[in-house]
């Protein structure tokens, strides 16, 4: 074998080795999320697989967590340096996790995405603090009023004219309450579910801000006392088990026809026909009714993704994946992880591919309503573009739902309960 041949073969071997090493050097990007339902995991995996196949620099891997244990699991992971590269989040969780010091600002990246896709304001503001954006908005969730049109009709109410004001809501609930049915079902457990419904009513009655401009707690207001009194009246027209209700029970009760109305997010759409045995046309939706001098609003969650690595390669991989998800052709697949619950929060995100998906197609009016209602969305402690650190423990302790419990199951006066809530929030703020 000549020297030339040997050199050629050696060169070829080196090239092959380099190529193989290149494949092996693919950067792994780990994603932690808290969507434990199997269809959501499967749908996420479809998008991840599509991303992994679209390029060979990065490989995204999802690891499913739960909201029940993420607060315990993430800090030790950070301490051990094995935190995920992407952590799915909601605004108040972001506030808490930022204390770990590993959350990376994504301001420039979000600005680039905004130029390309156009985020709605409600999506970005909750993640804005200290002049930076701390998470990439990925999907939205909004609460609306769900009602059973067939039950409205049976009770002599116009199913095409759902209640728009508090007076109308109360009147309709009274009319719809019978021997075996209840006009409405509002939760009263110590839970985030109760926090959310109460806040939707607070926001619709000028109580969207938990903090005053100077940062002090502004929960004990006449408006919020009025809201709690209204909530108490609705609770009286609800089933007796609401002290234990969270998210599933109002939905089950609406599907079963034991309650005629409920305030919740869009997860009601995809299972209504199969769970209720009724046609899709029996499910109605409307904006959350407002008080006499209130404004249209309801709770809105911008679900985001924090980037938690400062490694340039991993960060680039994380950004590439999130940019891939928000591309309209991929976004529809991603949002269909939970049809109706996961809403687009970009201007080009509400594609026909998403709207006309089999699960959403029969509910076009409600889909449009939720997208529209998203622009009226509010979130406690996150409406001003600056964040009070106390909102993390306030939400984690479910203080608002504890106020509801004091009124609904503890028979405390709304004024006393709201004063108690103010005191608890002030304590959280002082910490």
């Amino acid at each position: 074998m000549s020297m030339m041949t040997m050199a050629t073969r050696l060169g070829a071997a080196l090239l092959a080795t380099t190529a193989a090493t290149g494949v092996l050097a693919q950067t792994e990007v780990t994603v932690w999320h808290q969507e434990q339902v199997q269809p959501r995991i499967d749908q996420f995996q479809k998008v991840i697989d599509a991303f992994n196949e679209s390029q060979d620099e990065y490989e995204v891997v999802q690891q499913v967590q739960s909201w029940g244990n993420i607060y315990q699991k993430l800090p030790p992971a950070v301490e051990a340096g094995i935190q995920p590269d992407i952590q799915f989040t909601i605004p108040d969780f972001t506030v808490t996790v930022r204390d770990t010091g590993v959350v990376q600002p994504v301001t420039e990246f979000v600005e680039r995405l905004d130029e390309e896709h156009g985020f709605i304001e409600q999506a970005v503001v909750p993640y804005t603090d200290d002049g930076e954006v701390w998470a990439v908005p990925v999907y939205g969730m909004i609460q609306v009023l769900w009602y059973r049109k067939d039950m409205f009709e049976a009770a002599g109410l116009d199913p095409e004219s759902p209640p728009q004001t508090w007076d109308e809501l109360l009147s309709a609930a009274e009319t719809l309450t019978g021997d075996r049915t209840f006009g409405i079902g509002v939760p009263a457990s110590k839970s985030l579910a109760t926090d959310q419904v109460l806040y939707s009513f607070m926001a619709a009655n000028k109580g969207q801000e938990l903090f005053a401009e100077d940062g002090s707690v502004a929960f004990d207001t006449p408006d919020n006392v009025e809201t709690l009194e209204f909530y108490r009246q609705l609770a009286e027209l609800s089933p007796s088990g609401i002290g234990s209700w969270t998210w599933a029970e109002p939905q089950d009760a609406l599907n079963a026809g034991s309650v005629a109305m409920a305030i919740e997010k869009g997860q009601y759409l995809s299972t209504f026909e199969s769970a209720s045995g009724r046609p899709a046309s029996d499910l109605g939706c409307a904006p959350v009714p407002v008080s006499d001098d209130g404004e249209r609003a309801s709770i809105y969650y911008s679900n985001g993704a924090m980037i938690m690595t400062d490694d340039p390669d991993r960060r680039a991989g994380a950004e590439a994946f999130l940019a891939f998800v928000l591309e309209p052709e991929n976004y529809a697949e991603f949002l269909l992880a939970e049809p109706g619950l996961f809403l687009p929060l970009t201007e080009d995100g509400a594609t026909d591919a998403w709207k006309q998906a089999e699960a959403l197609q029969p509910y076009q009016e409600c889909v449009e309503l939720m997208i529209e209602q998203s622009t009226y969305g509010k979130l406690p402690g996150f409406n001003r573009g600056t964040v009070e650190d106390a909102i993390g423990p306030i939400m984690a302790q479910n203080l608002m739902s504890q106020v509801v419990q004091r009124v609904v199951v503890g028979d405390e006066s709304p004024a006393d309960a709201v004063a108690w809530g103010q005191q608890q929030m002030e304590e959280a703020l002082s910490e």
Binding site: Y71, Q72, L74, P75, V78, E79, T96, V97, D99, T100, G101, A188, S189, K190, S191, P239, S240, G241, I242, G243, S244, W245, E249, D252, A253, A256, S258, G392, P393, A396, Q397, N398, Q402, Q405, R406, V409, G410, A428, E431
Partner: protein
């Protein structure tokens, strides 16, 4: 006499001969034993002492669950948790939970064990089947009872209403008047089979002759129970009383999964309060101080229990 004396001398001679030889062998065996036991002892020391020591250290700092550098604050966390008025309620509920649970579980377990100790068709199946509630995972127990007790579609309310015992459904887990006793009963339902098994094991040691003798002497059923049965199972009840109380006070899962400490904190026991302080208020230092305080209380309780509560007689003493 002389023969006996010779034998004794011979025995002493053997003992003397074995003495020096034995004393040389035993330490070697002992050293070998210690060597074999060393790995597990080191492992236990590491897995118990290190976390405990770390917990004590954290309780002396202002550690936050979500990070930051903890700063030494001395006993400030202990002063806070013992004086801010938020621990008294959970502590008293923990005591009520442990005492109430112990009474209910002991009564259920003793009754079940006495029944299962009798001969009847299907006795073996019943003895196995009774363990079902204990072997199923806690999460299953919690959801099972949440569904059965549900005020809107639960079978318990349905039965009670069908029998005319209640007019309106009761929200057993959401009503402040019912939640605590309901969760206590659910926990008792989960744990009493374990106690049943222990008591049953003790009962099987009682020879039928004792019962026959008592009957021949004209003892009533109550006298048979108090004079024969109870003395035999008392040592088991002693162990169950000690361990059961320690386990019971530390129960967190079933409470969290059914009520999350609500409604209106009515089921918030010490473990729940500690969890909330650590992972909802993020005050890890204070939560650790609560944990250490509870551990100290349980140590004192265990010492007093062992020191003052009679363990019960041995079989020979009973006889």
């Amino acid at each position: 006499m002389s023969t006996t004396g010779s034998s004794a001398q011979a025995a002493n001679a053997e003992t003397d001969a074995a003495g020096p030889k034995g004393s040389a062998v035993v330490p070697v065996r002992a050293r070998l034993g210690r060597l074999f036991a060393a790995p597990i002892m080191i492992w236990l020391a590491l897995t118990i002492a290190l976390p405990l020591g770390y917990c004590i250290w954290i309780s002396l700092t202002n550690a936050n669950t979500m990070g930051g550098t903890p700063r030494f604050v001395g006993l400030a966390n202990y002063v806070t948790v013992l004086t801010d008025g938020t621990v008294g309620g959970p502590f008293l509920r923990s005591l009520a939970w442990a005492i109430g649970g112990a009474i209910i579980q002991t009564l259920l377990a003793a009754g079940a064990a006495l029944l299962l100790n009798r001969r009847f068709a299907g006795q073996h199946i019943a003895r196995t089947w009774i363990m079902a509630s204990w072997v199923v995972p806690t999460i299953v127990t919690a959801f099972l009872w949440r569904w059965m007790l549900n005020a809107d579609f639960g079978v318990v309310n349905h039965v009670l209403q069908s029998l005319g015992l209640i007019g309106r459904p009761i929200d057993f887990l959401g009503d402040p008047d019912f939640a605590f006793i309901t969760v206590t009963l659910v926990n008792a339902w989960r744990w009493f089979p374990f106690m049943t098994l222990l008591i049953l094991a003790a009962l099987t040691r009682v020879a039928p002759e004792y019962y026959e003798a008592a009957r021949v002497e004209g003892a009533t059923s109550w006298q048979v129970f108090t004079r024969v049965t109870l003395p035999f199972i008392q040592p088991v009840l002693y162990v169950v009383g000690l361990l059961g109380t320690l386990w019971s006070i530390n129960v967190f899962d079933i409470i969290w999964l059914t009520t999350k400490g609500g409604p209106l904190d009515m089921t918030e026991t010490m473990p729940v309060a500690i969890y909330e302080r650590a992972f909802q208020q993020f005050r890890l230092g204070e939560a650790s101080a609560m944990s250490v305080s509870l551990a100290l209380f349980l140590l004192v309780f265990a010492y007093c229990f062992i020191r003052f509560v009679p363990r019960g007689a041995t079989e020979q003493e009973v006889i």
